[in-house]
C-alpha cells in the first residue's frame, strides 16, 4: 500500500497539504477496528479518514485469512501494523527503521492510550459500540501522545527500557530520598522527583516496584505543558502494573523543571498529597537549599560529552544493567538535528542486532558510514553506545571508550540512583 495516494485524493484544503504531510519521515496512525480515525501525529486525523479506511480494509482482509498482516514495504517506506483488541495502529518510516523497532514503538503508543483510558474501558466501549469515536474520550491528551512519538524519534531511552537519570551529587540525592520517606502520607504508594523524564529519586514499597515502561509513560505525561503550573490530580493507568484500573497521580512542579509525582490508590487523597508537597518543599528548602540544587541540576539537563574527560566524543549512552538505569549525554554542538536523529536510529538498530545474537550474541559493533562513526558495546554489566568524530580509527575509539568506562565507574554514585528509598 502506498499511504500517500488516498491522502492526495482528499479534496479538502486548509492546513493539510499532502506534500507537507508526505514530507514527514515517520508517521503514526491509530484507528478503531471499525476504521474510525483516532490519532495521527501529522495532519488532522479527520481528514485522513480515507487512509484510515484503507488501513482498516487491509488489516481486516488479512485477518479474514487468519494470518495477520505484520508489515509492508513500499519503496523506501516500511509500514508496520500492530493490532490490539479494538485498536489498529500503523507506523510508517522512510528512515530504515526495522520492523521490530516500529512495532515496539507502536506498542508504546498503545500503552500510552491505555494509561489514559485503561484497557478495561477501551474494551467495554467498543463492545458496546463498535463504531465509537474514541477521540471524544482522548480529547485533550493528543499532546501527550505527540510528545511520546516525537521523543521516540530522538531519545534512545524508550528502546533501552531503563530509566534515565539526572546527574546529582550522591549525598544530595540521598537527602531528597530521605525527605520523601520522612514525609510519606499513609495513602502514598510511590513518590518520584523527576526532571524532564530524568529520575532524581523514587520512593517505593519494599515489595513492589513499577515497571520502567510504566514509568516512561508516566514521566512522558508529567512533562506535558498542562501540568507546568499549579497542582494536578488525575487518574492514570499503569498498563504493566494493572491495565484494568486507575491509580491516582498528583503532579506539581516544585522548582523550574523539577516535578514531584505522587502516586496513590485512593482517589480521595489529594489533600494528603498537597500536604506532602508542602512539607517536602519546606524540608528541601531548609536542607542546604536542596530545592535550588535540584533546580540547578535540572537546568544542566544532561551532561555534555566533554564532561566525560575524553576528546572526540559526540554523544554517549550508558546503560547500567543491574540498576536498569541509564544516562545519555547531550550531543556535541557540531552535530545537527538530522545527524542526531540518524545516530539515535543507528543505536536502536545496533541494539536490536545485538539482541538477536542468540547463543553467542555480538559484544561489540563498530559501525561506520560516510557521515557517522558509532560503537555499540555490551558486557555482562553494561551497554554502551557512543558516536565519535567521523575520522576516529578503531584503536582510538576503543581507547576512548575505556577511558569513559573508568570515568563512569568513578562517577557511578552521582550518575545513578543507587539507594532509592523504600518503606
Amino acid at each position: 500500500m502506498d499511504g500517500d495516494a488516498p491522502v492526495a485524493a482528499v479534496p479538502v484544503g486548509g492546513e493539510l497539504s499532502s506534500a507537507e504531510w508526505r514530507a514527514h519521515g515517520r508517521h503514526f496512525l491509530v484507528l478503531s477496528s471499525a476504521g474510525k480515525p483516532i490519532y495521527t501525529r501529522h495532519g488532522d486525523e479527520a481528514q485522513l479518514s480515507m487512509l484510515m479506511s484503507a488501513v482498516q480494509a487491509i488489516v481486516s482482509s488479512f485477518s479474514d485469512m487468519s494470518d495477520a498482516v505484520r508489515s509492508l514495504s513500499a519503496g523506501a517506506q516500511t509500514i508496520v501494523f500492530y493490532t490490539s483488541g479494538p485498536l489498529y495502529l500503523l507506523g510508517a518510516s522512510d528512515r530504515g527503521d526495522p520492523e521490530e523497532l516500529l512495532r515496539s514503538e507502536l506498542q508504546l503508543v498503545h500503552s500510552q492510550i491505555v494509561s489514559i483510558l485503561t484497557r478495561a474501558q477501551l474494551t467495554r466501549i467498543f463492545e458496546q459500540r463498535s463504531n465509537f469515536d474514541l477521540r471524544q474520550l482522548l480529547g485533550g491528551t493528543e499532546g501527550i501522545i505527540d510528545h511520546l512519538v516525537d521523543r521516540l524519534d530522538v531519545d534512545f531511552g524508550f528502546a533501552l527500557g531503563s530509566l534515565d537519570t539526572l546527574w546529582m551529587r550522591y549525598a544530595q540525592r540521598e537527602r531528597v530520598g530521605k525527605v520523601l520517606l520522612s514525609r510519606r502520607p499513609k495513602s502514598l504508594l510511590y513518590a518520584m522527583v523527576v526532571s524532564d523524564m530524568k529520575l532524581v529519586t523514587l520512593l517505593r514499597p519494599r515489595k513492589h516496584s513499577l515497571h520502567p515502561a510504566d514509568l516512561h509513560l508516566l514521566f512522558n505525561m508529567a512533562a506535558a505543558p498542562a501540568f507546568a503550573a499549579g497542582e494536578h490530580w488525575t487518574p492514570v493507568c499503569f498498563p504493566r502494573f494493572n491495565d484494568q484500573g486507575f491509580l491516582h497521580v498528583y503532579i506539581s512542579y516544585i522548582a523550574a523543571g523539577v516535578a514531584l509525582v505522587l502516586v496513590s490508590a485512593d482517589r480521595d487523597s489529594f489533600f494528603a498529597m498537597t500536604q506532602c508537597r508542602r512539607l517536602v518543599c519546606e524540608d528541601l528548602a531548609a536542607a542546604d537549599d536542596l530545592l535550588q540544587r535540584l533546580e540547578d541540576a535540572a537546568a544542566q539537563r544532561a551532561l555534555h560529552p566533554s564532561e566525560l574527560g575524553v576528546a572526540g566524543l559526540l554523544q554517549l549512552y550508558y546503560r547500567h544493567k543491574t540498576l536498569v538505569q541509564h544516562f545519555g549525554t547531550r550531543f556535541d554542538e557540531s552535530v545537527g538535528d538530522e545527524q542526531a536523529r540518524r545516530i539515535v536510529n543507528t543505536y536502536k538498530r545496533l541494539r536490536l542486532h545485538m539482541a538477536k545474537g542468540g547463543q553467542k550474541p555480538l559484544r561489540i559493533i563498530y559501525y561506520r558510514s560516510a557521515a557517522d562513526t558509532v560503537l555499540a558495546w555490551q558486557s555482562r554489566s553494561f551497554e554502551l553506545y557512543a558516536a565519535v568524530a567521523p575520522t576516529m580509527d578503531v584503536k582510538s575509539m576503543i581507547r576512548l571508550v575505556n577511558a569513559v568506562l573508568e570515568w563512569v565507574e568513578k562517577e557511578e554514585d552521582h550518575l545513578f540512583v543507587i539507594n532509592s528509598p523504600s518503606y
Binding site: 471524544q136 474520550l137 480529547g139 491528551t141 499532546g143 498542562a226 487518574p235 482517589r267 498537597t274
Partner: protein, 217 residues
C-alpha cells in the same frame, strides 16, 4: 500549598479567627474557558493557547467577605472531557459553590451546562450555590446563546448568572466574589454535634486544615 501558611485573620477584639474555607468546583464542556477563568481570577493572567486540563487542577485563593471575614476558595478546575465525567462527583460532592461554564458562541456547550446544573441540583440536593457563566464575551459578535436565554434559564433554575471574558477579565472577579458571599457559612455548632453529620465543606480534606468551623462572622 498556601493554605496553612496564611495566618488566620483576627477580629479587632482578637478573640476568634474570621476565616472560612469554601470548596468551589468548575464544570462545563471542554474548551469553554474554565481554566482560563481560574487563571484570570487567581493570577490575573490569560493564555490564548492554554493546554487542555488533564484530570483536575487545584488552586486556592483568598477572597475578602463582608465584615472583615476572609474566605479561602479551594477551587477545583475539572477537565471538561467526557472521560473524566465519572470523576466529577468526587469534586462537586459537598462543594459549597459551583461555577458552571458555557461558551456563548457554542450553543451545544449551553446544553451541556444545563445538564451539569441538573446533575448538581439532583446530587447535592440544592446545597451547592451555582453560578452559571457564559464565557468568551470578547467573541460576542459570534454569539449563538443570547444573554436573555442564559439569564432566563438561570432565573428559572435559581442560579447566579454572569457573562464574562477570561481574555479581557470582564466580570471574572465578580463571579467568584459574589459566589463566595452567597455560600452559607458553616453553622457555629459545638464539634460534638457535628460528628454524626457529613461535613459540608471539607469532605475531601481528610488531612486538610480545619479552621473552617471557627468563623465567627
Amino acid at each position: 500549598m498556601a493554605q496553612q501558611q496564611q495566618q488566620q485573620s483576627q477580629a479587632a477584639g482578637g478573640a476568634k479567627p474570621m476565616r472560612v474555607q469554601h470548596r468551589v468546583v468548575l464544570l462545563g464542556e471542554s474548551a469553554v474557558g474554565k481554566s482560563s477563568l481560574v487563571m484570570r481570577f487567581s493570577r490575573n493572567e490569560f493564555n490564548q493557547y492554554n493546554e487542555s486540563t488533564i484530570g483536575a487542577a487545584y488552586v486556592s485563593k483568598d477572597v475578602a467577605l463582608d465584615g472583615g471575614c476572609t474566605a479561602q476558595l479551594q477551587i477545583w478546575d475539572t477537565a471538561g472531557q467526557e472521560r473524566y465525567k465519572s470523576l466529577a462527583p468526587m469534586y462537586y460532592r459537598g462543594a459549597g459553590g459551583a461555577v458552571v461554564v458555557y461558551d456563548i458562541t457554542q450553543a451545544a456547550s449551553f446544553g451541556r451546562a444545563r445538564a451539569w446544573v441538573a446533575e448538581l441540583q439532583r446530587q447535592n440536593e440544592g446545597k451547592t450555590v451555582i453560578a452559571l457563566v457564559g464565557n468568551k464575551l470578547d467573541l460576542a459578535a459570534k454569539r449563538t446563546v443570547s444573554r436573555e436565554e442564559g439569564a432566563a434559564y438561570a432565573a428559572e433554575a435559581g442560579l447566579l448568572f454572569y457573562e464574562t471574558s477570561a481574555q479581557s477579565g470582564q466580570g471574572v472577579q465578580q463571579v467568584f466574589e459574589e459566589l463566595s458571599r452567597k455560600i452559607p457559612l458553616p453553622a457555629p455548632e459545638p464539634p460534638a454535634a457535628r460528628a454524626g453529620q457529613p461535613a459540608v465543606n471539607v469532605r475531601l480534606a481528610a488531612e486538610g486544615p480545619a479552621a473552617a468551623n471557627d468563623c465567627a462572622c
